[in-house]
């Protein structure tokens, strides 16, 4: 019972935090608003990668692929088809990333560890190559400009604040769905595969299928971030979908805390803040990003949120241990952490 209530408490705090974000953002200047919206877009990408990397234990360097398909499908549809609606854009972006992930999954899931990393890295390179070379469709290195977001139920999304709220809404829907996923029986099997795949097979799980489904779901959600990104920047070019995008997504998950969902969203906020705000003061902002990453790996391998959770659990255990002294009936096993 206590476990359930502590989970409800977590959900409450997350909702409160995003409610606060929604309340204060309109009062910031335009540039800060844009950074926050960008962070939310990348947060969706980082959370989707977390399903694969944090929960299932498969580190992918190919998440830029679905981002690219989402972004380019949106760019092409908006610029080529008159009066295209949001539903079509999301349908196309999601459908494409779903199909691409379903295909790439067959190639990638047989590999593990560094081999999985290399295969997914090569996917990234191929897709970047496509974006760069296939001039007739992608505009090559000129990119595609003028991607104006269509209205939502008659409300224009071309106003930055409106687009921020729209992005926040999409983000919260994704967070809710992914939270449901990790709390489901299927979500638990992913963690089981991460912790001991051989045992999972012996317990009767077709682990290939579970990993494949995680791969496809993760890729499909990453496509959403691509759709939003294209409409937010109104411009898309190969530099948006190069390998760095995939690597940054990986960094966001590692920074924020793998297998926490909200952690990678925080990681996304940190990376975007460094990329767009700190970089206005320091040209070599990658140095700061690198330093942040090294400090995280050295002092908080479980990521920022993982570290905070660990500290809270440690304090709680300490409090309970302290409280157990006068109340003798407490079983000693329950205070071991």
């Amino acid at each position: 019972m206590s476990r359930l209530s502590s989970e409800l408490k977590q959900v409450f705090w997350v909702i409160a935090a995003f409610g606060a974000l929604g309340a204060v953002t309109p009062f910031f200047d335009d540039y800060t608003q844009t950074i926050i919206t960008r962070a939310l877009v990348f947060a969706i990408m980082a959370m989707s990668l977390d399903i694969l990397m944090g929960y299932t234990g498969l580190r992918s360097m190919g998440h830029g692929v679905y981002f690219a398909f989402g972004a380019y499908s949106t760019a092409i549809l908006v610029t080529k088809v008159k009066g295209v609606g949001l539903l079509t854009l999301f349908g196309a972006g999601l459908g494409l990333s779903f199909l691409v992930a379903a295909f790439l999954g067959f190639l990638a899931i047989r590999a593990v560890g560094v081999y999985f990393l290399m295969i997914t890295l090569s996917f990234s390179m191929v897709v970047w190559g496509l974006a760069y070379r296939w001039h007739t469709v992608t505009g090559g290195d000129n990119g595609i400009a003028g991607i104006l977001p269509p209205p939502l139920f008659g409300i224009s999304l071309q106003n930055p604040v409106a687009f921020f709220y729209f992005t926040l809404g999409v983000f919260l829907i994704c967070l809710g769905l992914l939270y449901l996923l990790v709390k489901s029986p299927f979500g638990k099997t992913l963690v089981g595969i991460r912790e001991g795949e051989a045992r999972m097979k012996m317990l009767g799980y077709n682990t290939w299928l579970h990993k494949y489904l995680a791969f496809v779901i993760s890729g499909t959600f990453a496509g959403i971030s691509g759709v939003l990104w294209a409409m937010l920047n109104r411009f898309i070019a190969p530099t948006d979908v190069e390998l760095v995008t995939s690597v940054e997504a990986l960094l966001m998950v590692a920074l924020g805390g793998p297998a926490t969902l909200v952690g990678p969203a925080i990681g996304a906020a940190i990376v975007m803040f460094l990329r767009y705000w700190v970089s206005t003061f320091i040209e070599r902002w990658y140095l700061i990003l690198g330093a942040t990453y090294i400090i995280t790996i050295l002092y908080a391998r479980e990521g920022i949120l993982g570290k905070v959770e660990g500290l809270l659990a440690w304090r709680k255990a300490g409090r309970e241990a302290g409280a157990a002294i006068p109340r003798v009936q407490k079983q000693p096993e329950e205070i071991r952490t």
Partner: protein, 250 residues
């Protein structure tokens, strides 16, 4: 009531790693309620044999049947679905998950709901009740929120067996259940194994002869991958050749 066909049958099963015959021409039958031991010095091919039976490794030749069905080419999870379970010599639980989560994963392994994505696991009452029963039976319920890596070695060995039992198997393969246990703990393990359902068929690898002779009625002795001897445990216990191998005079 009694089934006529063996639940598990090996016919001339062999496994070669390059030039090494790890398992050679092994025949074995395990009937309903059968308790069969496998004995042999290190490197005799006992664990390899388990890996062949469970489908972790493909056989080089021979035939493996479960409940009369040829499963020689089946993947592990499909064999488990037939009603087979296994524990490991080197404890292979989910160390960073809690005791309860370990058992929940084991319980849902053969249920369709394992692929359900949009309903919380916590809402499956039957799965939780089954897990609670399994843990209460071994007196582990108060440990449910502990991470498995914080349990003692003896507790972990016992949890290994609990995970094996979670799918209500008809055939249970135990790979050295008492490995690394102290004498008293080994005796507890033997008592625990004897307390299991009498219909359950058990194939057990065990070096602790007290545990082995206390649990099984039939023993196969492996030596360099070949069957040296098969027979009732008394006969094996008094066999000259077996004693020589175990005492190092062979």
């Amino acid at each position: 009531m009694a089934e006529t066909q063996p639940r598990l049958e090996l016919e001339a099963v062999s496994k070669q790693f390059g030039g090494l015959h790890a398992v050679e021409d092994v025949n074995l039958r395990l009937r309903e309620g059968g308790r069969h031991g496998i004995l042999g010095p290190n490197g005799a091919g006992k664990t390899t044999l388990f890996n062949l039976i469970t489908g972790v490794l493909p056989t080089t030749s021979g035939r493996i049947s479960l409940f009369g069905q040829d499963v020689t080419r089946w993947p592990t999870h499909k064999r488990t679905a037939m009603g087979m379970a296994r524990t490991f010599q080197i404890t292979s639980l989910f160390p960073k998950l809690t005791v309860l989560d370990n058992v929940l994963l084991a319980v849902q392994g053969l249920r369709r709901m394992k692929l359900m994505m949009f309903r919380p696991l916590a809402s499956y009452k039957d799965v939780y009740e089954k897990a609670e029963k399994l843990l209460t039976d071994v007196n582990f319920w108060h440990l449910r929120d502990q991470q498995v890596r914080n349990l003692s070695h003896g507790e972990q060995r016992q949890l290994e067996v609990v995970l094996g039992l979670a799918s209500d198997p008809k055939v249970l393969l135990l790979d050295e259940p008492s490995a690394g246990l102290a004498t008293g703990e080994s005796r507890e393990m033997a008592d625990f194994l004897n307390s299991l359902d009498k219909d359950l068929s058990i194939l057990i690898i065990e070096h602790d002869l007290d545990v082995l002779f206390g649990v099984v009625s039939q023993i196969t002795v492996l030596h360099y991958g070949k069957v040296l001897l098969e027979g009732p445990s008394d006969q094996v216990r008094n066999d000259q050749q077996v004693n020589e191998i175990y005492l190092g005079k062979g």
